[in-house]
Symmetry: C2
Subunit: 260 residues, 2 copies
């Protein structure tokens, strides 16, 4: 099974804007239960889920060998793994004592409960931004990012008005880069309801949720969005733009008529 | 401050092998304490750490506005943020009740304690692999990955002998792709001490730790390694190869003479 699905988008090429069918990467929330306790929700591609579960439990020290697993059942329709272990391992005891949180979203009972809490965060007042303005912001963003291109691997993120970049940050992690600009915006008490986020990295559901929580109406990436982020964005009236490079971009959600 | 530092590498270009100075992305473990409780260790770039702390706490619902923070102190030398909050927020109470684990490494008291536990995992018997064999594996890997290139954003990962790919997986997350191949290897009870991991994604410390835990002696990426992964790899005698593309590659650690 290919980890992709079809979706309708607006494809922009220079002056041309075409409504098209495109493919998008599936982002699949997959929750692992160990001995009836919810452990984590991974956001993954929906293949080899049993191997993923085994590998994750081993990586995190919940099992030391395959035979430590008594039973494993994958409920693919609902994105759940039910695992029973033979014994409570030493490592596992140790882990249970501490708590940390994911950079992700695996904190609700199930991922979709987390999503539900955003239903109220719909963007009511879309901002009146034109495609040419997005292109101009992307040019400025690329110019700033290029200063660091020689390292090959740092993500850039920017907060912008329709006309200018006002905060620019970089980080090895795209989530950290976004948290840095959002942290600065919070400290400076900026109104985010008319701002735009630019990122060099993929727009995953985690990125989209960070933006949605702040009521930011537009997120633009040089890279691809995932299926889950587009679904969420469509619910919340957030405009998601991907593959924004030079004169091209794809608009995945919330196509206001004034774009056109 | 640029999020990079200098490092000596072996640069391979066709038949040529040159020892060179290169730059590498810094991966900086940064631990956030909230009201004297350790919350998480982020792996980030060492800039705008106060903004990152504020943004992270806001993203995760620990604060609702900036004024919820009574005090924030960044100890940059030790990579620690000490935060005191004004009140225990409702959201925070809720979060404290649950536990999930990061896909990352923030489980020790401090990140370096986690690293310490790997010191015993040194590779004792390096495998006798030649540069030409790595190039050949990379070609096979690229060929397999290309089948899915049209989606732009799925990571590939493979487990190999010196001569062939034996497990190949893809996932939206590079950690998941690696856990999938390691899960399959565990289930199939494979000896990993003479195997090689190929990945399309960056080699972060988290990726390196997953490999080190299994005693795998070589990891090869199309992309960059981070500073922390190279430091760890040098301690553990793991060979890290980055930017492996066509006839080129950079060797960052554990340069056995038979490579040359």
């Amino acid at each position: 099974m290919k980890p992709i699905k079809n979706i309708d988008i607006l494809r922009v090429k220079g002056e041309e804007i075409i409504e098209e069918d495109d493919i998008i990467i599936i982002e699949y929330p997959f929750t692992i239960f160990v001995d009836d306790k919810e452990l984590i929700t991974l956001l993954c591609s929906p293949s080899s889920l049993e191997e993923l579960t085994i590998g994750f439990l081993h990586s995190e020290g919940f099992i030391e060998e395959y035979s430590d697993i008594k039973k494993i059942h994958i409920d693919k329709d609902n994105g759940i793994a039910y695992v029973n272990l033979k014994t409570r391992s030493h490592l596992r005891e140790k882990l249970q004592g501490k708590r940390t949180i994911t950079s992700g979203c695996g904190k609700g009972t199930l991922f979709y409960n987390v999503l539900d809490s955003f239903k109220s965060k719909k963007i009511e007042k879309p901002i009146d931004i034109k495609i040419e303005e997005i292109k101009s912001l992307v040019r400025e963003f690329n110019h700033k990012s290029e200063l660091f291109l020689n390292t090959g691997g740092v993500h850039s993120c920017a907060l912008c008005t329709k006309f200018d970049i006002i905060i620019f940050e970089e980080d090895i992690g795209r989530h950290n880069a976004l948290d840095k600009i959002l942290g600065k915006a919070l400290k400076d008490n900026l109104d985010l309801s008319d701002k735009i986020v630019l990122t060099s990295g993929r727009i995953s559901s985690e990125m989209l949720i960070k933006v949605a929580k702040r009521g930011i109406p537009v997120i633009v990436s040089r890279s691809a969005p995932t299926s889950l982020s587009v679904e969420l964005a469509r619910e919340l009236n957030i405009t998601v733009v991907g593959f924004a490079r030079g004169e091209k971009m794809n608009i995945y959600s919330n196509f206001p008529s004034y774009y056109l």
